[in-house]
């Protein structure tokens, strides 16, 4: 590879005939994340069938989600939307008593123009439970973008004033203060000294609690305090967001949330690569530090150490090629990390590409390709799965990251695949979880190495297609 002028990234757009999950799938992880919530998906049997099958065993664990299944009377407006929703929400309130009900609008509510945003405040007042509406439908969005629509709506529900300041509180709690006096004071002093003085920072993106703790600690090492996290474990703990606060995203599919935070809550967005892979995590921390004028400490050694620990996995994929068919918007970050691991990447398919929100991530991708001396991948927005499969066959790609609809058929044709949805549900953020990404990415290669000797690669008879 000659190191001529770096090739710029090449963006294309295909037909949009691709397979992905419906964005209502976000209820599957969000209801678990926000413990006092209830998600009501207002849609048809089709939506229900998808959720039921996609969520598998979770369905049986008395989920805090349900369908408001629309019937013919709802479609033809013989029934009154408001009365119907009121009846169901009262039932939910009675049976589950959640702190918030999230209405998920679907394709059907869009087409029949059900005014969920208009109905919600009225019903909210009548019911006494906050109602958040999110239009997570397949007409407009793909898979993980569902979370984006929910979080963008939740931004409006975040309190805009910090609660009563410490001093007032202390006076009111005189007795408990007395009881705890010695210990408490010590703790407060110790804690404050650990942080640098910087404007409040709120992170957004739903991650499993262990990952939240992990990333929070990672920033704490740099003296950065995370004032809040959207979403929090409970709806009642949504972070305070005041004008001028800094915000940073942890996932690449949160562009609406970012926009809402900037425009509606006057926050400053820290545009950084996403903390996926040790390179991404480091760049993410560095960017946050630089915004706050902090000199990052020990990141070099930290990153180097992680890479060293990954070597056994990296050996398996170095020099191999990867192809992202595209379905969950994590593709750019994952490709950037895998290229840094020594892979080449022909194509990054992605449902939707927000070049502004992902700007820093795209720049890091370009830089990574340059530094690793590999060609930049073509980025294909709204891909066409049929065309992609022709390209995969032509390129003889070593690893295809794809949805389950294509995984088994590709494996049967001797092509290694990794099911992309697993990256959405696995813990992949921060230094600590870099290994988990590679555990996933190398699994098909490791498995197929074990079976190599058997000569069972192609398990379909060659199609005699012209």
């Amino acid at each position: 590879m000659t190191l001529a002028a770096p090739e710029p990234l090449n963006f294309e757009c295909e037909t949009g005939n691709y397979h992905t999950f419906c964005p209502i799938s976000c209820v599957a992880w969000l209801y678990q994340k926000i413990e006092d919530s209830f998600f009501l998906v207002i849609g048809t049997k089709t939506c229900g069938y998808f959720l039921q099958n996609a969520m598998g065993v979770m369905i049986f664990a008395e989920p805090r989600y349900a369908m408001a299944e629309l019937e013919e009377g709802d479609i033809s407006a013989q029934l009154n939307d408001y009365e119907e929703l009121k009846r169901l929400c009262l039932q939910i309130k009675r049976d589950r008593n959640p702190s918030v009900i999230v209405w998920i609008g679907t394709c059907t509510t869009e087409i029949i123009k059900m005014d969920l945003e208009g109905l919600a405040p009225k019903l909210e007042a009548e019911l006494g439970i906050p109602i958040v509406t999110a239009r997570a439908n397949g007409l407009d969005y793909a898979f993980t973008q569902g979370e984006d629509t929910v979080l963008a709506s939740m931004v409006h529900k975040c309190p805009d004033k910090a609660p009563v300041v410490e001093a007032d509180k202390e006076e009111r709690n005189a007795i408990s203060k007395l009881l705890n006096f010695g210990r408490k004071k010590e703790e407060v002093v110790a804690e404050q000294s650990e942080y640098v003085d910087h404007p409040p920072l709120v992170l957004f993106g739903s991650l499993p609690d262990p990952v939240v703790t992990n990333l929070t600690l990672e920033l704490k090492k740099q003296g950065i305090k995370v004032s809040g996290w959207l979403p929090a474990k409970r709806y009642t703990e949504l972070p305070v967001i005041e004008e001028g606060y800094y915000v940073a995203g942890v996932n690449p599919f949160l562009s609406r949330t970012a926009t809402t935070l900037m425009r509606r809550r006057k926050c400053k967005l820290i545009g950084a690569p996403f903390p996926i892979g040790p390179d991404g995590t480091r760049a993410w921390i560095e960017k946050i530090c630089s915004v706050f004028g902090i000199e990052p400490k020990g990141l070099d050694e930290r990153e180097a150490q992680i890479w060293e620990n990954l070597e056994d996995y990296i050996k398996l994929i170095r020099g191999k090629s990867v192809f992202f068919m595209g379905d969950n918007l994590l593709e750019i970050s994952l490709a950037r990390f895998l290229i840094r691991c020594g892979m080449t990447c022909h194509e990054i398919g992605i449902p939707y590409m927000d070049k502004r929100y992902q700007a820093a991530e795209l720049a890091l991708l370009e830089k990574t390709c340059q530094e690793m001396g590999v060609p930049t991948p073509r980025i294909v927005e709204k891909p066409d799965n049929y065309n992609q499969i022709q390209r995969i066959k032509e390129l003889k790609t070593d690893l295809v990251i794809t949805g389950m609809a294509h995984a088994n058929p590709l494996e049967a044709r001797g092509i290694n695949t990794k099911w992309s949805v697993e990256f959405t549900f696995a813990q992949i953020h921060g230094f600590t979880n870099a290994r988990d990404i590679l555990e996933l990415a190398t699994r098909p290669l490791r498995r197929n190495n074990n079976l190599k000797e058997l000569g069972w690669e192609k398990l379909v008879k060659e199609e005699a297609k012209v």
Binding site: F21, Q52, E69, E72, I111, I112, G138, D209, T213
Partner: protein, 508 residues
């Protein structure tokens, strides 16, 4: 609006897709928003299909909403026609396209002008029929279409096959144990000296549909899919059909006798009594099982049965009539075909439940406290919660209900499988019960005392809390690896930092 947590039968388009994709070289194009092609995932995961599922979406997005599909659907059809050269493309409406009320029939006609293959619009209403009804209807529609086409072209073959022959109608993709049932039925037909003329829709080519009238009769093994096609063929060609599900020893015999009657009426002169007798007494183990001591112990045990019409009705009869088990409640979610079910099971159970509300069945099971349940995956989970064993006999099903090994539910081998299923469900329950009475054989503590030497390491509060968040099945491993890491590096207390460092070091 209806508050729903779970559904037994899927939406209509699933039925259409199950039938169309069961045929060879038939492609379905869904008029649907992105994400509605979940059917492909189910085919690929549940059935472990090696081939790409012949279903694509012509996506309904904002533009379609604003301006209509215009050329899009037609283009997608003609494109697929050139790419894969299917014999037939079925344009499949979904709940979304139903409300858009676009003139899909018109798209089909326009696409037909350019397409080499046939193009058809699946005639199903999303808000009125479910998966099973839609599948039944689509199969009829495709059969009708090709019979009409052959007739028009004068290609409809005359007369019957020389030897007695049968069409097996209703075997489909994602059907509960359908593939194994199909093999078993073919074997049964071979035993009876009956040629299998066509099996539809699974594995069939639409070109062969014109041969359907050549068979002496049609066999419709499942109540849910195939009856409409069989009735159409009866009406059109006077072909008789047998719709007795050969599931269980008595019903299999009844089905065979009916076949005998049907083909003798056409001059076959066969007598299957000897065969039935031989199979029942000596070949199948089920009749002998009913007589054995094992089955004696099941006498009067309480069971609840729930599922689709075919399997719930057959199972109820097997339990009550062939094994002497007390079926307290039999139920179905096929509300649209309620009468048939009541008529089938009424004399074999105390109560009948017709409902598609999983809460109602769950409550009934809790109230009855049977020794075993035979139901769908949902009932299996109800059983888990209540500690009652459950045998899965009907869809909705998971990947474990698509076994690789040979497990038919129909025919004589099917009766053996049923006996195993029933007996295993009850003994497991009995064993559990006995273990409880005798305090179990749990000697774990004594054995492991030496091994799991008490930890010398302290876990601080946060780390302990974090550890508790680790899923139970790997928690032990994470704990051991973390402690090993801490010991090697001389940490005396395990904090969050130590935990993460350990994870980074060993990938715990």
């Amino acid at each position: 609006m209806k508050l729903a947590y779970w559904m037994y039968a899927g939406p209509a388009h699933i039925g259409t897709l199950r039938v169309s994709s069961s045929f060879k070289n038939v492609h379905a194009i869904m008029h649907a928003p992105i994400g509605d092609d979940y059917f492909n995932v189910m085919r690929s995961m549940l059935e472990r299909d090696r081939n790409f599922t012949p279903v694509t979406i012509s996506s309904v997005d904002r533009n379609v909403l604003a301006r209509g599909s215009q050329e899009k659907v037609v283009n997608n059809i003609t494109r697929k026609d050139t790419e894969e050269t299917p014999d037939l493309i079925v344009l499949t409406p979904t709940c979304t396209s139903s409300i858009l009320q676009e003139d899909l029939e018109n798209f089909v006609q326009r696409a037909q002008l350019d397409a080499k293959g046939d193009v058809m619009l699946a005639d199903v209403n999303h808000y009125r029929v479910n998966e099973l009804q839609a599948a039944d209807r689509t199969l009829e529609q495709i059969v009708q279409f090709y019979i009409a086409k052959a007739r028009k072209q004068g290609h409809l073959p005359e007369g019957k096959t020389e030897k007695p022959s049968v069409n097996i109608i209703g075997i489909s993709s994602l059907g509960f144990h359908n593939h194994h049932d199909c093999t078993e039925l073919k074997r049964l037909m071979a035993d009876l000296g009956i040629e299998v003329n066509e099996v539809i829709p699974e594995g069939a080519s639409v070109h062969n549909l014109k041969n359907l009238p050549r068979a002496w009769f049609n066999l419709v093994p499942y109540r849910e899919i195939g009856l409409m096609a069989a009735r159409y063929l009866e009406q059109e060609f006077g072909m008789p059909y047998v719709d007795i599900t050969p599931m269980g020893v008595v019903e299999t015999a009844r089905c065979i006798r009916k076949i005998q009657q049907v083909i003798n009426a056409q001059g076959a002169e066969v007598d299957y009594e000897e065969y039935i007798n031989n199979q029942t007494l000596y070949v199948s183990q089920a009749a002998w099982f009913s007589r054995s001591i094992d089955c004696q112990n099941l006498t009067g045990k309480k069971a609840v049965v729930f599922g689709d019409n075919t399997h719930a009705a057959a199972m109820t009869k097997i339990l009550a009539r062939e094994m002497g088990i007390h079926v307290v409640l039999a139920g179905t979610y096929c509300k649209y075909d309620e009468e048939w079910f009541r008529e089938q099971v009424s004399e074999y159970c105390d109560e009948v439940l017709i409902s598609d509300d999983n809460g109602a069945i769950g409550d009934a099971i809790a109230r009855i406290e049977p020794s075993a349940i035979f139901g769908t995956q949902m009932e299996r989970h109800v059983g888990k919660r209540l500690s009652i064993p459950c045998g899965v006999i009907a869809a909705p099903i998971h990947v474990q209900d698509f076994p690789i090994g040979y497990k038919p539910f129909l025919g004589y081998e099917g009766t053996n499988q049923m006996a195993d299923l029933v007996y295993n469900s009850f003994t497991l329950g009995m064993e559990d019960h006995l273990l409880e009475i005798f305090g179990g054989h749990d000697t774990k503590e004594v054995i492991t005392r030496g091994i799991s030497a008490d930890s010398d390491l302290g876990w601080n509060k946060e780390a302990q809390a974090e550890l508790n968040k680790v899923p139970g099945f790997v928690r032990g491993k994470v704990k051991r690896n973390t402690e090993k890491f801490a010991r090697e590096r001389g940490f005396s207390e395990i904090t969050l930092e130590v935990m993460y460092a350990a994870k980074e070091a060993v990938g715990a």
